[in-house]
């Protein structure tokens, strides 16, 4: 992992890779993240930089890899998945978050988005299945409950270097 991280840095700074922060656009050139529609959210969630520029240090990088590895428990994965899907960072997944999530899944570009009636129907179905207290949003414990019964979650929420 250290090798992959240091490859991202320009040559001069490779010596002290442990303390340098890598800017976001460099991180996004990693092949594992390149094709991922959630790349921006991943960088935002795992970055601990105070400047808010979503750059990642080596520790952030290790954090990210450990969450996405096989040995992370399902609670850890669902916690971070919740933070990644929460686009407006208000602590719950409301309709706008779900809409953005579905648009990320179906791909960029105008012809690959669902129509608004389809989107409404889909969000209605999702909330019906997962919103237990019927408040129109999904809070972290509801999300964890839904994800724990989903068979594909553990195998899809995984990055292998």
């Amino acid at each position: 992992a250290y090798k992959r991280f240091s490859e991202l840095l320009p040559k001069e700074e490779r010596g002290n890779a442990c303390s340098v922060r890598v800017p976001k656009r460099q991180i996004l050139t990693l092949p594992e993240l390149r094709a991922n529609p959630f790349q921006e959210r991943i960088c935002r969630v795992f970055s601990t930089s105070e400047a808010g520029d979503d750059s990642m240090s080596f520790e952030d990088f290790l954090d990210m890899l450990s969450v996405f590895s096989d040995s992370a428990t399902s609670e850890v994965k669902s916690h971070y998945a919740f933070r990644i899907f929460d686009f407006d960072e208000d602590g719950t997944l409301d309709r706008k978050d779900l809409e953005q999530l579905v648009n990320c899944l179906t791909g960029q570009g105008e012809e690959s988005r669902l129509s608004s009636t389809e989107m409404e129907q889909l969000i209605q179905n999702i909330l019906e299945e997962s919103d237990i207290d019927k408040d129109g949003t999904i809070n972290p414990s509801e999300f964890q409950h839904v994800v724990s019964r989903s068979p594909d979650f553990a195998s899809s929420f995984k990055i292998v270097l």
Partner: protein, 614 residues
């Protein structure tokens, strides 16, 4: 104590040895598995197709590979048991001789058969015509049944019963194909069952766990986006349609049912029209190709190929009509696809059956005493098995030519037009999509012809192997250069099972003509290994009568009613047991599912209580 310690050491050494030996055995097995995966045919090609076009199209190509292997094994079977002994004995290798026993009590007229293998000076295009229609020089080769006019083969002092071997090899390859297909489809069936079982939380599962974070290739990512979009859209649409169906009024229901009945009648009428035209054309072609004396090369070839042309036209136009008609029937989309496919399958396979039936009606055309002495129309068809084999051969060659022609003359010009001409009509027509179901039906049609034809033409599986080999490369090139990725990605597991199920239907359909030819139509007296028997099946009873008394009694006992009825009842009992077991399992699954729902409701109740208490 020392003895005890020594004992323990001895035991642990034994255990150690066992462990190390099992570990090394596992390592060796893994390495062998790794090497054998390199030997799999076209592994790299299919892998790259999967990456670019998705698993649905990849399943088509693995299906094609399976058929190549199946045909190759069939060819090896027929070749080693039938053709090889014949060739060895005809050329006298290994000190072998051929015994030709002329049939007793048969009128001389039945045994006249002079295939006109080309003698003397012939034009080059006669060879071409013979190659395309299986007459002339091909008729006397080992390609057709007529070559094997041998009653037994003597290799040194051993007697090789060629008629029996021919019949048993036929049964063997049919049984082998059946077992192999069933084995493959069972794996797909299990996957299918598991996949359909959980509709519980499908939306949440698809949205929250839909994206596979391991994807690194942009092409694969694009495919995944498209398939996710399509899956979500189809699920939503099915839900909308289901709600619409629930809210239908009685008047609407009546209207729809009457519309469906009338469309089914139209479909039936179309099918009957196709069958009748194939029958007429086959009769016409058989009558005319027998009297024309090679005057006009093109006209002769056209008449010979007329049945194949009509069948191909029917196979092309039929599916178009069916897809048009089914729009009016207002079914759920998934059911629409299945119904159209079933109709197309029925059309294609029934066409072959009608062709064979019309051939037989010609062969056993017994008006005006044409078949009195021999039991079949011996003047026109002295060696009728070769004729049937010839028709199957023509169908196969024509199929290959059509696939080549469509790819060269339809797909490539279309691609050129679309890339270079920007007029609106052309752009709307667009690039061709790789229609998986049509392509699969094409190759299943070819395979059914091969299965039927192998009894009449033992080298046909070799031709089929080469044909599918060529088709693989043609389709691969056509896919890469002319097709755009389909907008509707199909799930691979259900496709695999569907292909194999239709192939199984084709195989069962192939049993019928072969069975009828073997058991009920009298075999030709002028050619072939079954000259001395009334029908081809008679070899088996005659051979059994030569067995020792005890074995004979045993075999007759197995075939008698006293044995068959109890066995049948036992099989029925076993079947009922398994059906009951499956029903019980299903009920258990339903109960567990209900318990899950109750569980979530309990959790909801508790959470509400907690929030109230806070």
């Amino acid at each position: 104590r020392d003895f005890y310690q020594a004992d323990v050491k001895y035991l642990s050494k034994w255990k150690k040895w066992k462990r190390t030996s099992s570990k090394s055995l596992k390592k060796v097995l893994n390495e062998v598995k790794g090497w054998s995966s390199y030997l799999v045919l076209w592994r790299h090609d299919i892998h790259s197709i999967e990456g670019r076009f998705g698993t649905g199209i990849q399943s088509y190509f693995s299906f094609l590979r399976f058929l190549v292997l199946l045909n190759f094994i069939n060819f090896i079977l027929m070749f080693s048991f039938v053709t090889l002994p014949t060739i060895i004995s005809t050329y006298g290798i290994f000190n072998s001789t051929v015994a030709k026993i002329s049939p007793p009590n048969i009128e001389y007229n039945c045994t006249i058969y002079e295939p006109s293998g080309n003698k003397g000076l012939v034009y080059f295009f006669t060879y071409l015509k013979d190659l395309l229609s299986g007459t002339g020089f091909l008729e006397v080769t080992s390609l057709f049944y007529g070559y094997y006019t041998i009653d037994s083969v003597w290799i040194s002092i051993m007697r090789y019963n060629l008629p029996l071997a021919y019949l048993l090899a036929t049964f063997a390859y049919l049984a082998l194909s059946l077992i192999w297909i069933i084995k493959r489809s069972v794996e797909g069936f299990k996957q299918n069952l598991v996949h359909d079982a959980d509709q519980f939380q499908s939306y949440c599962n698809k949205v929250f766990a839909g994206w596979d974070f391991c994807i690194t290739d942009p092409n694969a990512a694009r495919l995944k986006h498209r398939s996710l979009q399509y899956e979500l859209q189809t699920d939503l649409e099915e839900e909308r349609l289901k709600q619409k169906i629930e809210h239908r009024t009685i008047k609407e229901k009546l209207r729809i049912y009457s519309l469906r009945i009338s469309i089914n009648i139209i479909v039936l009428a179309i099918l009957l029209g196709c069958f009748y035209s194939i029958y007429r054309v086959t009769v016409f072609s058989q009558e005319n190709s027998n009297d024309v004396s090679n005057t006009n090369f093109q006209a002769n070839l056209l008449v010979q190929y007329l049945p194949s042309i009509v069948i191909t036209l029917a196979n092309l136009i039929g599916p178009l009509i069916f897809t048009f008609l089914i729009q009016f029937e207002d079914y759920l989309p998934a059911f629409e696809i299945i119904l159209t496919l079933m109709r197309c399958v029925f059309l294609r396979l029934a066409n072959i059956v009608v062709l064979l039936f019309s051939l037989w009606s010609q062969i056993s055309n017994c008006t005006a005493d044409k078949c009195k002495p021999c039991g079949y129309n011996y003047k026109l068809y002295p060696c009728w098995e070769s004729d049937v084999g010839r028709e199957m051969y023509k169908l196969m060659i024509f199929d290959l030519i059509i696939i080549l022609a469509v790819t060269l003359f339809v797909d490539f010009p279309r691609k050129l037009l679309v890339t270079h001409c920007s007029c609106k009509l052309v752009q709307w027509y667009g690039l061709p999509e790789f229609g998986i179901s049509n392509n699969v039906l094409e190759i299943i049609y070819g395979q059914t012809i091969c299965w039927i034809g192998t009894f009449f033409s033992p080298l046909l599986p070799a031709i089929a192997t080469v044909k599918y080999f060529i088709i693989f490369y043609i389709k691969k090139i056509s896919l890469k250069h002319t097709c755009k990725p389909s907008a509707k990605p199909i799930r691979a597991s259900s496709s695999n099972f569907f292909f194999l199920a239709v192939l199984l239907i084709g195989l069962v359909l192939a049993f019928i003509p072969v069975g009828v030819s073997i058991a009920s139509i009298p075999s030709s007296k002028a050619c072939g290994p079954f000259r001395n028997f009334n029908t081809s099946w008679e070899v088996v009873p005659v051979t059994i009568l030569e067995f020792p008394r005890g074995l004979q009694k045993f075999l007759f006992g197995i075939a008698s009613e006293a044995f068959a009825v109890p066995i049948f009842m036992v099989i029925c009992l076993i079947m009922f047991y398994f059906i009951a077991l499956a029903g019980a399992h299903k009920r258990v699954v339903e109960q567990l599912r209900e318990q899950l729902v109750l569980e979530s409701r309990d959790k909801m109740f508790l959470i509400r209580k907690i929030t109230e208490a806070q």
